[in-house]
């Protein structure tokens, strides 16, 4: 770790001021990603702004009937929250499939959105990496790329965004509320994370002086028909190779609305509205699900070690949709 100074803030405006004053400062919440990256010398902040004592640690109803998840609520407290379990079980499932109980007790909702890729070259400061040091090249494209992206890649970077929670938030169309020196704004979940393009060093559209204050869930929770399917190298405590969040609104055997988000395949949770629209009005049959999987993965491109993800993702999409459709409606 490099030498850094530390400051503790108690309100949002002080946090924003600290960040605006010093572009080499970083917020620290649970610390489970940032401290790891600092130990590896990948992140080298000159100042840590500890935001843990800002009162953003509540889960409350919003006026439109949705739920507001404070940025500093832990992943555990979110997953086991009674309202989240009842109304947004897809989110609970996704969170609980990630990391370990200890890490979820530390990790915060804001930090989960901001976690960085697990690309091994990004972590290894002895290798070139455009995300870590722009312009040095991407070691993964011609290297070992089993965990890497197959959709939305660029010639600069093929990293994946590793969060499980965010795959569910993408399907639920959450809103990320942020505050910066220019005030507050709401970022639709689909616009929060970026594709790598020519600037893979930038993961999200959050500005350096902005802090996430909450993640708002719209009223619709798809509690009756949802599934989070995570495929990984071991059964627990491993990042996804491919994951699928499926949320359906059913009318008998007919699909009224479908949402699908994929993890482990791209630089952001992956959605394809055209493909989702194909399911509208369709019945629950393997053929209909397969057709959607083909559309979603149509432009996928493998890099050798990760090419298996294309077929894996198709099968995972079909299976997740099947699980979601067949769930017993809750009484």
């Amino acid at each position: 770790m490099n030498s850094f100074s530390y400051v503790r803030v108690r309100d949002v405006s002080s946090a924003v001021n600290e960040a605006a004053m010093d572009t080499a400062a970083k917020f620290i919440a649970g610390g489970t990603n940032l401290i790891d990256l600092m130990k590896e010398d990948v992140a080298r902040p000159d100042r840590l702004v500890d935001i843990n004592r800002i009162p953003l640690n509540r889960i409350e109803q919003t006026s439109d009937g949705g739920l507001r998840l404070g940025a500093l609520v832990t992943n555990s407290d979110t997953a086991y929250n009674e309202q989240v379990e009842k109304r947004y079980p897809l989110l609970s499932r996704a969170i609980l499939s990630g990391a370990s109980a200890q890490l979820r007790n530390m990790a915060t909702n804001g930090g989960n959105l901001m976690q960085r890729t697990r690309c091994y070259y990004f972590y290894d400061t002895a290798t070139p990496c455009n995300k870590r040091e722009p312009g040095t090249g991407c070691s993964a494209i011609d290297g070992f790329n089993r965990m890497h992206a197959v959709l939305g890649t660029s010639e600069q970077c093929i990293a994946v965004f590793p969060s499980d929670m965010c795959v569910a938030l993408a399907a639920l169309e959450a809103i990320v509320r942020v505050t910066g020196k220019n005030g507050d704004r709401n970022i639709p979940f689909a616009d929060f994370h970026r594709l790598p393009g020519d600037t893979p060093q930038i993961d999200t559209n959050l500005q350096p002086d902005e802090i996430i204050t909450s993640i708002d869930l719209p009223p619709k929770g798809f509690a009756d028909h949802h599934a989070y399917l995570k495929v990984r190298d071991r059964h627990s405590y491993a990042f996804a190779l491919v994951s699928v969040a499926a949320a359906l609104e059913m009318d008998g055997n007919k699909i009224k609305e479908a949402r699908l988000a994929l993890g482990g395949v791209a630089h952001k949770p992956w959605r394809n509205r055209e493909a989702e629209a194909l399911l509208k009005g369709r019945t629950v049959t393997p053929d209909n699900f397969q057709a959607v999987a083909e559309v979603i993965m149509h432009d996928a491109k493998g890099f050798g070690d990760n090419t298996f993800k294309i077929d894996l993702a198709k099968r995972a999409i079909v299976r997740a949709l099947k699980h979601a459709a067949q769930m017993e409606a809750r009484s």
Binding site: T32, M38, A43, D46, A101, M106, D203
Partner: protein, 174 residues
């Protein structure tokens, strides 16, 4: 939407920061400590307080050997800075026995032969204590899943599971 600005800026030299005084309650006794900002809770326990029961396995949140309870919740002490926990209550393996009597979980680990080399054991026991308090695990599969953050290189898993089950059965809330 505004144009994204680069996050990582060039390295800057900062003067070595002052140590800061923090207060921690460790296993029931209050400690005033001078810490540098980068000292992890794990290093503080082991190097400053000589509480070497808590182990360093990976130092990256991947093994659970460093598990302790902070304000009653199990966390990885390698992934938190001591300074962030100013004012908290920390419980380590050294704090579980009372007046010479082992905690039921410690006794169960002995009864069930739930360790071989013992390196992961303090973390396993602190994690199991957190698990029991959280109250989300009853079946063997639930216990396995919610203990997956503790790796045992010796593979004592079946016996660890048995020890936790025995404790849940005999204590009903520790």
């Amino acid at each position: 939407m505004k144009r994204p600005i680069e996050f990582e800026s060039a390295r800057r030299v900062t003067p070595s920061p002052q140590r800061t005084q923090i207060t921690l309650n460790v296993n029931g006794s209050e400690k005033r400590l001078n810490v540098a900002p980068w000292t992890t809770l794990l290093d503080l326990l082991r190097e400053h307080l000589d509480l070497t029961g808590t182990k360093k396995g990976c130092d990256h949140g991947q093994c659970g050997a460093c598990t302790v309870l902070v304000d009653g919740k199990r966390i990885n002490s390698c992934m938190t800075l001591a300074i962030m926990k100013d004012g908290s209550n920390v419980t380590t393996i050294e704090g579980l026995a009372h007046n010479g009597t082992l905690h039921p979980l410690q006794q169960a680990f002995i009864d069930c032969d739930a360790f071989q080399c013992g390196y992961c054991t303090p973390g396993q026991i602190c994690s199991a204590l957190g698990l029991i308090r959280e109250g989300h695990a009853e079946t063997p599969d639930e216990i396995r899943e919610l203990m997956s953050g503790n790796i045992c290189r010796c593979g004592a898993y079946p016996n660890i599971l048995a020890a936790i089950q025995q404790t849940i059965k005999t204590t009903k809330g520790v």
